[in-house]
Amino acid sequence: MDNRNKKILLIEDENITATKNLALLKKHGYSVVRATSGEKAVEIFNLNSDIDLILADIELGEGIDGTEAVKRILEKRTIPVVFISGYSSHEVIEKTEGITSYGFIFKNGGDAILLTSVKIAIRLFEAEKNICKQKEELEDTNEEMQATMEEMEAINSNLTEIQSELLKSESEFRSLFDSLLVGVGILIDRRFKKVNNYLCRMTGFEEKELLNASTEILYNDITEFERVGKELYDMLQRDGHGVMESLMRRKGGGMFDALLTIGPLYPDNLAAGVCATVTDISELKNTENALRESEMKFKAVMEQSTLPMLIVNSRGGLVDANLAWERLWEYDKIEAIGRYNVLSDAQLHLLKPLIDKALEGSPVDLPELRYKRPSLNGDTDTSLWVTGRAYPLKDCDGKVSNVVIIIEDITERKRAEEAMRLSEEKFRNIFNNMTVGYFRTGIDGTLIDVNPACLKIFGFETFEEAKEFSGNTTENVYVSEKEWNTVRDKMITAEASFIGNVMLRRKDGTEFKGGLNMRVVPSAEGQPLYIEGLVEDVTERERTQEMLIQSEKMITVAGLAAGMAHEINNPLGIIMQNAENALHRMLDDLPGNFEAAESVGTDFQKIKDYASARRIDRYLTAVRDAGSRAAKIVANMLKFSRGTESKFDYLNINNVIDKALDLASNDYDLKSNYDFRKIKIVKNYSDLPDVPCAETQIEQVFLTIFKNSAHAMMRNKPDESREHSIRISTFKDDGFVKIEVSDNGPGMDGSTRKRIFEPFFTSSISGGGAGLGLSVPYYIIVTGHDGTISVESAPGKGSKFTITLPVQRRE
């Protein structure tokens, strides 16, 4: 039977049920109009003359209920009605009494029941309509017949014609009866009195086998036969009609699910027979079972899945969730369903566009989200990182109403990532802040990475600059190719490491001694991956070490000098005093001298002449003066080695240097064509804080250094291109004042440079002097002023003295 063109008025106030039933009916080809209230239903019915069936919910909330609405409709026109109710109470059913209805089904009775009820109602109505029509016709015919009979009796003619008309009518009814696509039988006392073709086809029996046979023939056992009979009879008694499902037997023994309906032929006389219909609903049952199976499969997948899944509606409210989800949140699903606050507002706000997109029909990947895990037992919330995917969930109309969200718990991954990030950051901090230069190169020597300290050591601004400068093999930063070869050889041999000092080149071309500590870093499989290394400018450190050694040496020398001084002073005293007295008694006009000469029979003048003629006077003077010179050296040594007791003033070192320059400018030696004023002096003074110092001593320090430089330079003829110059620079440092005095003289070799501050160290540079040379400035600065003094020099490169003086005097 074709459902199309059949129009159903659905009276239903609940949207969910309405939507569901609307969809179901539409799917099965009905056109449906919906009324949300009883009043509306009447109104709609009046406007639509083509409505074929009314599907009425009894409980309609406000206004008239379903039964009342149907009553009003039925007043206008007879139409099949199927009532739906959520209740089966007597009062509800009572309401429908007196209303000609073609079915009564319970909500949630299943789609099949609904569909079948609707289908059967329409069919029944049509059958009834036909029967009624037939009945009317029959009655009409009867009347006619009676009239005719009267006529017959009177006329007794036309009988054959009337009989043939009756037969024709009977044949029409039969034709209609047989054309129904539902099994129909007229039963009296549960025996078939009439069956249609479809029933025969459905059951496999022939008409003659069924006629007068008990309906038991269609049941597998007597129990079911009796059950059906009793229940249908009860319904008939109670409701005036009956509907139920049963399992029926075909002729060959095959079973089928059947929907049975029963209605009286004559409501006033049940014994006069009933009209029963049989519908094979095996197909429907199968579909229903398949649906159920499919749903169970889905449920099983969802529940067994270790991935948390949930279904949310368009507003973000929870519709359903699986066990994994419950475990994830430590949350009870039942409590959560229907609530919208499963997701916090902020997160919902974030998710809403994504859910909306999924609702439009395309799956969406969720971003990584951080959740505070809602806690039922009031424990401290623990954070949870999740990501996932949202899929649209289509209903039977293909419309997306819900969204399935599959969640992936990435908390562990996030934690690992965070740990990794922290570790990386820690490494970066060390890398960036370590004062030692760090670098990484490929096995071939290409620069991969350097830290800021490394850039600073070489004077680079950026890594790119460093990479370009160092070349493909970093060979360019090595001053000596030989050293580079040594390093490379060590790296590529089994040793795979190098520790040592090499000369390196900065960006500006200057050279420095670099301490290298390099190694090849292998992979887990032992293959060389890259080379990493540390580099330090060890010039400063080596100088400090030298200074320490120097200082030690000087202390030893000073100690020795102090111990020796006394022992030396006595013999010196003897030499000097006796020489002096010898001179007195030989040359001075002392009364004693004249008396002594006379007593030995000579003239004192003659003795004086003799001493002069034989140069005894000069010998003795030489002895005395030499002793005097030696005494001065010892005295100076002692003076500086025991520190200074001179008065300290806070002075600007720039001024002290200027005074020393004044003193130096008076220094010249005609014989060697030496003149300090021929040297160009370049001053590069900074603003300096006053430092505590003994002025004359510091003057002496600079004077000694200036003279030292000047003498060294004067020994070399100046180049045509380059005049002799001394450059004096002063700086303010942290807690110190630093003074650099550099010359462009011949410089010193390493061994000279290392011993330059030792007393009595003679080099041609220190020239004449008292033999103490630069040890005097050393003692003054280091012992007397707690400062430092050092020298950088190389042959042909001049010398640079660096002096630091503390701004605060040590107590």
Binding site: A565, N570, E580, A635
Partner: protein, 125 residues
């Protein structure tokens, strides 16, 4: 009457030129190689000035001045020493010794000692 000088030094050839120089200059000089001998002399006699070395075998120069100051207060002392470590003590100050009378060995000119002995020590020696 010539002025009286005592010299105490364990080095004979330190004593001798000083004695000769002062005698040439009109002083009466006695010299001793130890502090004990000098103290013995001061037990009976006296002097205007004493030139004394600090490091002596036996009694030190310092102890000598303390003892001598008890026996013969008011003598002028010149400390003539080869050691620059020496600095004046409270007892020396009590005996009237001041910085100017500490003279480091050796002197360029013996006149330095003579001036000090006459009470006119050379400043900034």
């Amino acid at each position: 009457m010539p002025k009286k000088l005592l010299i105490i030094d364990d080095e004979e050839y330190i004593r001798l030129p000083i004695q000769d120089y002062f005698e040439d200059c009109g002083w009466d000089v006695d010299s001793f190689s130890s502090a004990e001998e000098a103290l013995e002399y001061l037990g009976a006699g006296t002097a205007d000035c004493v030139i004394v070395d600090m490091r002596l075998s036996g009694m030190s120069g310092l102890s000598f001045i303390e003892r001598a100051n008890e026996i013969r207060p008011g003598l002028r002392y010149i400390i003539y020493t080869g050691s620059v470590e020496f600095s004046i003590t409270e007892n020396l100050r009590m005996a009237g010794v001041s910085e100017e009378y500490i003279i480091n060995k050796p002197v360029d000119n013996l006149n330095v000692l003579l001036c000090a002995a006459e009470g006119n020590p050379v400043k900034g020696k």
